[in-house]
């Protein structure tokens, strides 16, 4: 469960759990997070929470809202973001991964029923299909992020398609989340539906491997160096002999891709298995000799 920690001059004043779909922040008493200070507008900002994601929106406040030092109108909150309103600081804490067991990670679940059958399906064009889906989305969930009302200016991060704009319901709240969608839990809820739906940043950067480099030793390109920065680097001539060097957390691996002849490393011919390259290995491929080495740290 995500929460906000309110501090003033480094002193913790209060913690707020983000349990509601919409949590309001402002000077007036009706706000969920009341900050009784003249630098804070009556209705200063709001946080919309959809399952495990929270979005902060400045409600046109006089003195503005900062996130990590930058003024924002709308912001997708990330764990440990620091929200500043006047002299007050609100830390957003949402470390989903910590509490859940590994088995709970990223289980695919069904959020909602299929679209209504009466929704006409267009013919075989992709754009038609897209449009129908958007309409179903709008109708089903009543996300109305692009509504322009109430003096509040939501800033859609992406240009919404015209069809989306025109179909968005025009209600007062510019940012109202879906009315508690029926979540089909496909896993026994251990703590509650929200805490089990944990995710984690994807495509985590591979641990640092020393930078590998290939230097060509023979042929017309002799002397050239090629830094192996990408996940895969292709060597050889397509249609004749091709091999790749894959950059992995464990190191650099040479693998044969195509051609009758397999690459040689230090005079030995490889088989179809990936071969872990060592510093100063000599690779021979399509008649060209090259040396693999680790670039000394600068």
């Amino acid at each position: 469960m995500a929460k906000l920690i309110l501090t003033l001059d480094g002193v913790v004043l209060k913690e707020y759990a983000l349990t509601k779909e919409r949590t309001t922040i402002g000077r007036k008493a009706h706000n969920d997070v009341q900050i009784d200070n003249l630098a804070v507008s009556g209705e200063h900002a709001a946080i919309v929470t959809i399952l495990n994601d929270s979005f902060l929106e400045d409600l046109g406040s006089t003195n503005g809202t900062l996130v990590n030092g930058q003024p924002i109108k709308k912001h997708f909150l990330q764990n440990s973001d620091l929200v500043e309103i006047g002299k007050y600081k609100l830390k957003y804490v949402n470390d989903q991964g910590a509490g859940a067991s590994a088995a709970d990670f990223e289980k695919t679940m069904v959020l909602r029923a299929a679209p209504r059958p009466q929704e006409p399906r267009p013919s075989d064009t992709q754009s038609g299909g897209v449009r129908t889906d958007i309409r179903a989305t709008q109708a089903d969930t009543q996300f109305n992020t692009s509504t322009q009302t109430g003096g509040v200016r939501p800033v859609p991060p992406m240009p919404a398609q015209p069809s989306v704009q025109s179909q968005a319901p025009t209600e007062a709240t510019p940012f109202s989340p879906p009315p508690a969608p029926p979540i089909h839990m496909t896993q026994p809820p251990a703590v509650g539906p929200i805490t089990t739906l944990t995710g984690a940043p994807s495509a985590a950067a591979a641990p640092a491997v020393q930078q590998g480099v290939i230097q060509i030793l023979s042929g017309p390109n002799a002397g050239r160096e090629l830094a192996l920065v990408k996940a895969l680097t292709t060597l050889g001539k397509p249609g004749v002999q091709v091999a790749v060097i894959a950059k992995r957390p464990q190191g650099y691996f040479l693998t044969h891709v195509e051609g009758v002849n397999f690459p040689m490393v230090n005079g030995r011919t490889l088989d179809s298995q990936a071969h872990l390259l060592g510093d100063h290995d000599i690779v021979e491929l399509a008649g060209v000799k090259m040396e693999f080495f680790f670039k000394p740290a600068v």
Binding site: A114, P115, T137, F143, Q161, H184, A203, L232, P249, E258
Partner: protein, 274 residues
């Protein structure tokens, strides 16, 4: 008609680095031009059951139906219509079958699965999908995502709440808005596209695209497209190297040459005179 000479296929599936079982299921048969991938969900091992039923049933039903309707012999328009009709009918039947198992056996309650099916015929492919399993196409070195996920994140992207980049940081991954076997009826999204010689199609579960950037998927298919089994294994390995938080499955189909339906002696002679 056998498409085995026109389509090269390869596949790989892996439990990943975190999960205890593999709830993904895949099947691919180049000779009938069919590739199926399902990512099951549901407690304990019910997810495997759902994805297993989906893949087994769709493959066997499709094999029979293709033979019975002579799908690969039909002309352009009739064939397109028939392919979509077969996909719709067989997916509906599969949905009922999973839904009934889930309702009749308590240990399977609530099980379901995502699905992506590609059916190749007559230089075309029809793609059906439900949920967040994807089909990508590599054409002239460009990777394009063909299917659009039925997921909360995709809806948030569509409505302008999230950018694609922000979506990668969302905590609401893996919430699909459609799945096979969850309700009595489900609508698969089906589209038909032209297939070209040299195209490489990738069917994958979210365990791949959540862990590996599209650019790296493109890089792999471009670098290893001439060795399809190696490319399939490389994709799985990259997902695992990046953390492998989910099961990861890939099916690759490469179009080696054109596969027109009317490949008869008569049509060949006629095309001579055109």
């Amino acid at each position: 008609m056998n498409l085995g000479k026109a389509l090269e296929v390869a596949s790989a599936t892996h439990t990943g680095m975190v999960r205890s079982h593999n709830e993904d299921a895949i099947a691919v048969d180049g000779s009938i031009g069919l590739a199926v991938l399902a990512d099951g969900m549901g407690g304990y091992n019910a997810g495997e059951v759902a994805s297993g039923i989906a893949v087994a049933l769709i493959t066997s039903e499709m094999r029979q139906a293709i033979a019975k309707t002579n799908l690969h012999g039909l002309g352009q328009e009739e064939g397109d219509v028939q392919a979509v009709r077969l996909l719709k009918g067989i997916i509906a039947k599969t949905n009922s079958s999973i839904f009934e198992s889930a309702n009749s056996q308590p240990q399977y309650a609530g099980m379901g699965t995502t699905l992506v099916v590609a059916l190749f015929r007559d230089n075309r492919l029809s793609v059906a999908h439900i949920g967040d399993s994807r089909l990508y196409r590599l054409r002239r070195e460009q990777l394009e995502q063909v299917t659009r996920d039925h997921s909360l994140l995709q809806e948030q992207i569509d409505s302008g709440m999230l950018t694609k980049e922000a979506a990668r940081r969302s905590q609401n991954k893996n919430l699909v808005t459609r799945a096979l076997g969850i309700e009595a009826e489900v609508e698969a999204e089906i589209h038909t596209y032209d297939a070209q010689s040299g195209d490489i199609y990738l069917l994958c579960s979210d365990g791949l695209n959540d862990m590996v950037e599209d650019d790296d998927i493109a890089l792999t298919l471009n670098a290893m497209g001439s060795n399809l089994p190696l490319a399939a294994n490389q994709l799985v390995q990259m997902a695992n190297d990046n953390g492998g938080r989910d099961n990861v499955s890939v099916v690759l189909v490469k179009v080696l040459r054109d596969f027109p339906a009317a490949d008869t002696w008569l049509s060949r002679v006629l095309s001579w005179f055109k």
